[in-house]
């Protein structure tokens, strides 16, 4: 049957038609198994045009409801639905022609009137609800023989999809039913008499047959079995016609039984087979199967990327020692994923945002903003890995198992004595696994339930979305009940398994790949951990490894046996006088070497892990799934030289992922030293950033995690400085990132000041949501005195310090520090203003120092005072210097330094202030200062003072309120005393004032040269490809080992695909967060509408806004 003709295309073509009814159910519940009911609003479109039947009961309703309570409410449930059947005409059925003519004409007229609705309830309770849908449609209305000649005689499923079925013939649908019916007729002839006689009992007799599937699950029934069983039922169907004649009278009394045609319950016979898992009990972190007990541990993620090799090796050897410590046990290493809880993050972010920016009509509000971010998060499909390690440590005795069975009957489960005993045994694993290396902790029953559900519903969407209660917690056992809804389909020799969630209609195809031949790997140095590597691909996958850890004795015995076999084969060849193949000798030698290592080395060297490693890949369609599997295989063979195999019998392999289930097959066993197993490291991860800030992108290393950055996290939680440094070559995306962070912070109600000398960030202020709250200050057009150096450094207030004598002392120190800083700044500014040749003379420095000393270093002083002081000196040089300074003052820009600052220049009211210096020509620092033009020379003091001005604003408000200041082009600070003191002061004050300072520079040497890297909490390093030295300085800033090959990583950031003509849609950085985690991140703020258009600094930006969106094919990097 074409998938679209019924429900949502989640059924296979040969799926029994009646099953489809499940989709239509208003209420799906399975009292027998899971007791999970989900209410789904009735769906109008499914109703056929005729709508309700003659009895006012809509067709299809309660069609296949598994509820025993149903009958209480719908007395007429079994009623025929004439209008619909009539409309069913077009659907041709194989069975129809055969059955129809025989039965309908004679029975119809007689039976019709006999059927009183009132009688229904009597029969109903006995009748299993399952049969319901099947039975109803079968009853033809009087008119049917005429209209319905061709078929459309429903075997139950028809009611569902009448509207869509219009002109759609259903070729395949009920093949087995249809063909069965078609084939059977001959058999019918000899039977009628017997059955006719038994007719009254039929309903009752039917009952068990239908119920059976539900009752049977515990006893594993081979799926093939149902087929034979359906035969008798079918026969019964066909035997109907004769019956009526004999029993009309009887039927009138037993009206409810009046159904002329028993629907073939066949469908149901094999519809329900369900097999219970091997696990019978979860107790704490232990799982019990009838034969074994497994202790489960949760392995937290470990950091892998950008760590020194020595650290990684230490980690691996610690883990391999832990594995070696588990010798003699079978392990089940399982990695599953959990989609990123976007809602949880949004709630956290909202909680940490007490005063978001007010809404502006026509622009997205704060909640819109959050919703957009969540949408974006969900669309990118980030998944977090969860790694579980199960240690199967105890064989259960027959007695224990029997006791459990017995106690289960009383609802008690595993005996307490056994559990106590196990509880003591299991402590040894806590000890082994809890140490450095894996740092495993016991899992909770909830996590085990989650794992079980995820394993049964392999690669399917987790049930969070199903929850009818938002924010509700899953109760104990709920998740397990959800496994009830997962159906599995296989194809013979198929390469995927299909899983269908009956409740959501989700369909998933899963391919399970086994790890085949492996070439030698150099794990920390050249290769990624081999079970972490799959995360490079952008879709979530699942991993299951079943491993037997052999201790030194076992593994040596195993190896020796193998060696003897090889030797005997060699001997055999010698005896027969044939040349032995050379590989035998080679392998024997290798076995000897390994044997030697085993006998003389440490237990870690000798322990071996023999096991099966599988990766499950899922896809929405078979093609997608196979394509993904192909790409995974390709990736592994290319990068790691591991051949992933795609074996048959996928359903067994998929089952192996479920804890407690047996190993699917003995093929593809990998025998390896535990070190290699440790180097699989499925728990490796690369998270970076905090989980409470704004979404700024995702990690771009081996795995993809969303990256959040709250710039006030270092100060408010970690109690560190809030200095963040951005380093990249021009075009590396510094300004854009700075602007984006400024925007996001402003949205959250943080007071943001951005200094952007070149000016494009000023466009942020024209964004509709920010416009009322922002202001642009263009320094080149400002009034005199705006940049007056004395007033740029605020005088500390007594209230900022603690009470008491200590506070007094601190306050005094702070005041005198401020004075010293003012003097230093003024001196530096004056040196910058005079020509460099003059500034270099010793007398100039002396004179300036003298003059600055004369002028009181208070906020109220001005540069004019310094000039006056110089002019009043008896020294010619002093007069000359004063004249030089006055000369510069002739330039309009230099006037900013002289005079008093205007009042209220930078009010604390605006949420976003962007300071620009439009039209200012920035000099090239590589050229000597002598050759700078007058304008360029003026840029230097302007930048210095502008930086101070931007920060000055932050000292206006309260100390604890959040402030952010972004400073672009900070490399101009280098080489000046006041520059360094500025950054140090910024870093120091940042914590006290809750001030987050972002400093962007083109060269990490500037920051390193200022020697403030110890105060830096967050670092972003963009593309640095030109200069290896700069790259290694940047690595030093990131505190990543230099000369370990990471320089190449910096050069490969934001790599342009040379074959594409469009602009690069993203920028990559290596980010180090406040906790020292380093990771490659891809900045992506495209979820904020219009932000990238406003931030685009590239000339063609306005013309091609689209190209700023994240790349169309996010997987291209693979």
């Amino acid at each position: 049957m074409p998938a679209d003709t019924r429900s949502n295309g989640t059924r296979p073509s040969d799926y029994p038609v009646s099953d489809v009814d499940d989709d239509v159910d208003d209420l799906v519940t399975s009292p027998d198994h899971g007791a999970v009911a989900v209410f789904q609003a009735p769906q109008a479109p499914r109703r056929p045009g005729g709508g309700p039947g003659p009895h006012g009961r809509p067709d299809g309703e309660h069609a296949d409801i598994d509820s025993p309570f149903l009958d209480l409410f719908s007395g007429s449930a079994g009623r025929p639905a004439p209008p619909r059947s009539a409309s069913r005409t077009p659907s041709a059925r194989v069975a129809e022609p055969l059955r129809r003519p025989v039965e309908a004409p004679p029975t119809e007229p007689v039976r019709r009137p006999v059927e009183p609705p009132a009688a229904e309830p009597v029969r109903r309770p006995v009748e299993p609800p399952v049969t319901e849908p099947a039975r109803r449609p079968v009853e033809p209305p009087p008119a049917q023989p005429l209209t319905n000649g061709m078929g459309g005689h429903g075997i139950g499923a028809d009611p569902i999809a009448p509207p869509s079925r219009g002109g759609d013939p259903q070729p395949v649908p009920d093949e087995d039913a249809g063909t069965a019916a078609a084939v059977k007729p001959p058999a019918r002839a000899d039977r009628p008499p017997r059955h006719a006689a038994r007719e009254p009992e039929l309903e009752l007799v039917n009952l068990p047959a239908v119920r059976e599937p539900a009752a049977e699950p515990p006893a594993r029934r081979p799926p093939a079995e149902p087929t034979p069983r359906r035969r008798p039922e079918e026969r019964r169907v066909r035997e109907e016609p004769p019956r009526p004649r004999k029993e009309i009278k009887k039927r009138q009394e037993l009206a409810p039984r009046s159904k002329p045609v028993r629907p073939p319950k066949i469908k149901f016979a094999d519809r329900d087979p369900a097999v219970n898992l091997a696990i019978t009990e979860i107790a704490g972190h232990l799982t019990f199967t009838p034969n074994t007990v497994t202790a489960w541990y949760w392995l937290p993620e470990v950091r892998w990327a950008f760590r020194p090799d020595a650290e990684r090796e230490a980690l691996l050897s610690a883990i391999s020692e832990q594995y070696a410590g588990l010798a003699g046990f079978r392990l089940h290493l399982r990695r599953t994923t959990r989609p990123f809880p976007a809602d949880e993050w949004a709630r956290t972010l909202d909680m940490h945002t007490p005063h978001p920016l007010g809404g502006v009509p026509g622009a997205p509000s704060w909640s819109d903003h959050l919703v957009n971010a969540q949408r974006h998060l969900l669309s990118v499909n980030h998944a977090e890995g969860q790694t579980y390690l199960g240690v199967t440590f105890a064989r259960r005795s027959l007695g224990d198992s029997l006791v459990e069975r017995l106690l289960r009957a009383f609802g008690r489960g595993v005996a307490e004595g056994e559990r106590r005993k196990l509880g003591r045994t299991v402590e040894q694993f806590d000890e082994v696994l809890g140490a450095f290396g894996m740092r495993g902790r016991q899992v909770t029953p909830h996590e085990l339930e989650w794992l079980l559900y995820r394993s049964v519903a392999l690669c399917m969407a987790p049930p969070t979305a199903l929850s009818p209660v938002t924010g509700g917690e899953w109760e104990r056992g709920d998740m397990l009940a959800l496994t009830e809804q997962i159906e599995r389909y296989r194809t013979p020799y198929g390469s995927t398994v299909k899983l269908v969630n009956r409740m959501t209609g989700e369909e998933r195809h899963v391919a399970v790949l086994a790890v085949g031949r492996m070439e030698p790997l150099e794990i920390p140095e050249r290769h990624e951990p081999w079970l972490h590597f799959h995360e490079r691909l952008p879709w979530p996958m699942e991993i299951s490894s079943r491993v037997d850890v052999l201790g030194s004795g076992d593994s040596f015995k195993n190896l020796e046996h193998r060696l003897r076999m090889i030797r005997s084969q060699q001997l055999d060849y010698a005896e027969h006088g044939i040349d032995a193949p050379p590989e035998l000798e080679r392998l024997a030698k290798r076995a000897l070497v390994i044997g030697d290592e085993m006998t003389t080395g440490l237990p870690v060297e000798s322990a071996r892990a023999h096991g099966w490693h599988r990766i499950a890949v899922g896809g929405r369609t078979r093609e997608e799934c196979l394509e993904r599997a192909r790409r995974l295989i390709q990736l592994y063979s290319r990068e790691l030289r591991i051949s992933l195999q795609h074996p048959k019998n996928q359903d067994w392999l998929a089952r192996e992922f479920i804890p407690g289930e047996p190993v699917a097959n003995t093929g593809y066993i990998r025998r390896m030293p535990v070190k290699l197993l440790a180097a699989a490291l499925p728990q490796a991860a690369s998270t970076v950033g905090d989980r409470r800030g704004d979404l700024i992108g995702r990690t771009a290393g081996t795995c993809r995690r969303p990256v959040f950055l709250d710039l006030h996290f270092p100060m408010e939680v970690r109690e560190r400085s809030g200095l963040a440094v951005f380093v990249a070559e021009p075009g590396g995306g510094k300004s854009t990132l700075l602007g984006a962070l400024g925007y996001l912070a402003a949205r959250r109600g943080v007071q943001v000041t951005l200094l952007d000398p070149s000016g494009p960030l000023a466009r942020l202020c024209s964004m509709p949501e920010l416009r009322p709250y922002s202001r642009v200050l263009n320094l080149t057009g400002s009034e005199h005195g705006t940049l007056a150096p004395y007033s740029l450094i605020p005088t500390p207030l007594r209230s900022e310090f603690a009470n008491g004598p200590t506070g007094d002392r601190e306050f005094e120190i702070a005041v005198s520090n401020a004075r010293a800083e003012r003097r230093m700044l003024v001196q530096d500014i004056c040196s910058m203003l005079v020509p460099p040749q003059v500034a270099r003379e010793a007398s100039t420095a002396t004179l300036l120092r003298h003059a600055v000393r004369q002028v009181p270093a208070e906020e109220t002083s001005t540069l004019d005072d310094v000039v006056a002081c110089l002019a009043s000196l008896d020294d010619d040089n002093g007069k000359e210097l004063a004249n030089l300074l006055l000369d510069t003052a002739e330039m309009p820009l230099a006037l900013l330094f002289f005079g008093r600052p205007p009042e209220g220049l930078l009010g604390a009211d605006a949420a976003l202030t962007v300071i620009t210096m439009a039209g200012l020509r920035l000099p090239d620092l590589k050229i000597e200062r002598e050759y700078w033009s007058a304008e360029e020379a003026l840029a230097l003091p302007m930048l210095h003072t502008a930086h101070r001005l931007a920060v000055r604003r932050c000292y206006g408000g309260s100390m604890s309120s959040r402030k952010m200041v972004g400073l672009d082009e900070a490399h101009f600070m280098e080489g000046w005393r006041s520059g360094r003191s500025f950054l140090v002061r910024l870093a120091r004050d940042s914590r006290k004032w809750n001030l987050s300072a972002l400093v962007a520079s083109q060269n990490p040497r500037d920051i390193l040269g200022l020697d403030v890297q110890n105060l830096v909490s967050t670092v972003f390093v963009g593309r640095i490809a030109e200069d290896v030295e700069i790259a290694s300085e940047a690595l030093r800033l990131l505190r990543v080992p230099v000369n370990d090959g990471y320089e190449a990583t910096l050069a490969s950031l934001s790599n342009v695909d040379t074959s594409s003509a469009s602009r690069l849609g993203f920028r990559e950085f290596v980010m180090r967060d406040v906790d020292g985690r380093v990771q490659k991140v891809r900045v992506d703020v495209s979820y904020v509408e219009g932000l990238l258009d406003h931030l685009d600094t590239t000339p063609t930006g306005a013309a091609a806004p689209q190209s700023n969106l994240p790349t169309g094919a996010p997987d291209t990097e693979v």
Partner: protein, 120 residues
């Protein structure tokens, strides 16, 4: 750290060369002889079911067993043992009665599992 598996040792091809003093013209892995020896009685039994008669020299059975063995071992490699090949063939053959593309497998249901918060 250079890490490698021990698999190659287990991948050595062990073949039966023949009884001492007489070298067989073809050298087949031991496993093949094993499978062959299992198959002959099986075919004999099937033959017996039809004819109720046991032949002294089961020529047909041997021939069939040879063919079947070679057919099975066409799919066998160090990572895919003969048992798996036979099992896959059997299950999938058994369920391939209809041209249908998909068959439903039993659902795996975890509802009977008892959950206890604490071990003791």
């Amino acid at each position: 750290m250079r890490l490698r598996t021990d698999d190659d040792i287990y991948r050595a091809r062990l073949v039966y060369l023949g009884p001492p003093g007489y070298t067989l013209p073809v050298h087949l892995p031991y496993a093949q002889y094993g499978v062959f020896m299992l198959l002959v009685p099986l075919f004999m039994f099937i033959h017996y079911l039809f004819t109720f008669d046991v032949e002294l020299f089961p020529a047909w059975e041997i021939a069939l067993a040879v063919v079947t063995t070679s057919f099975i071992f066409r799919y066998v490699d160090p990572d895919r043992p003969a048992r798996m090949v036979v099992r896959t063939a059997l299950t999938d053959w058994r369920r391939t009665r209809e041209p249908a593309t998909e068959q439903r497998d039993p659902r795996l249901v975890a509802t009977r599992i008892r959950v206890r918060e604490e071990l003791v």
